[in-house]
Symmetry: none
DNA sequence: GCATAAGTGGGTAAAAGTGGGTAGCGGGTG
DNA sequence: CACCCGCTACCCACTTTTACCCACTTATGC
């Protein structure tokens, strides 16, 4: 069971290559075959899934109704933005220009480990996202955990 | 298990030829024998199926009732617009003038990988389709996935 | 403090994508 | 029936992108 955690400030080079932090690589299952799926995440970031985790997600998409317009829209958006990338000799993935643009990423990125996925943010965007929360961490925790 | 994903801006030349992106070709089963069926898709786009996937679809159509007028209409529309095309030496398929016109495609196309099929859009049409959605991607995801 | 691993950057051969020419086939017409 | 025209499939040539390799710098751990 992979379980990503931590945050890392890394860089994306002019060819769109980004290193996967060694601390995160540790948790990637050999089943993933060094392959990652990068797609659009929620709130202007990118989500990176190891292949085995992605396959689970894809299984739920396949259950959706192909005749329901909302389901179609969701499936299209998720898949249209997805690209597959295998680690190169230096443990990097290549992110397409379109996805980088979608997340507003230039050179610097903030990489977050979030359980079964890795999120890639423009650091500035992430800071703004945090500041935009109307409630404090403590209050949200109370709502979410309900204990 | 083929599983198309990703979006690609490609071109259709004056002869109606369109390259199948290498990233998508990877997932095409050898059973398809480099043959694709192109037909009318949902929401003003074209759907391209590798032969083996098309055969599965055709099997479900065969189950429909030939005495039900709605079934007849669906079957006719799907089949009347379907053409078969085999890859040429440069991995391209040829799309008929009629189908291109149906989808409002001129030179530029947006090719989407959507699980078992490939969709071909006029890029402008696709953008309008996205903008027409009443709900945000995040909200639709919440509805669709119900978690 | 040194050895090794991790992260970054760039060059190059191969693959992918695009465009055009031409021969052969089939359909239509005089 | 012969000829002409247009369409298609195949071939070739060119440009752009990608993937792989190597080299260097920085960080980590013993």
């Amino acid at each position: 069971m992979s379980s990503f955690k931590g945050s890392y400030e890394y860089s994306v080079d002019s060819k769109g290559r980004m290193n996967i932090p060694a601390r995160l690589r540790k948790y990637v299952s050999p089943d993933a075959n060094d392959t990652f799926i990068i797609t659009r995440g929620y709130e202007q970031c990118l989500s990176v899934y190891p292949l085995d985790e992605w396959n689970k997600l894809e299984e739920t998409i396949r259950q959706l109704s192909p005749t329901n317009p909302q389901h179609r829209f969701y499936t299209r958006t998720l898949l249209a933005n997805a690209i597959e990338s295998q680690l190169d000799g230096q443990s990097r993935i290549t992110i397409s220009r379109e996805l980088l643009q979608l997340a507003g990423i230039e050179n610097e990125v903030l990489i977050l480990g979030v359980l079964e996925r890795i999120e890639v943010w423009n650091p500035k965007t992430y800071r703004e996202y945090q500041e935009k929360q109307p409630e404090s961490y403590e209050n949200i925790a109370q709502t979410v955990l309900q204990k």
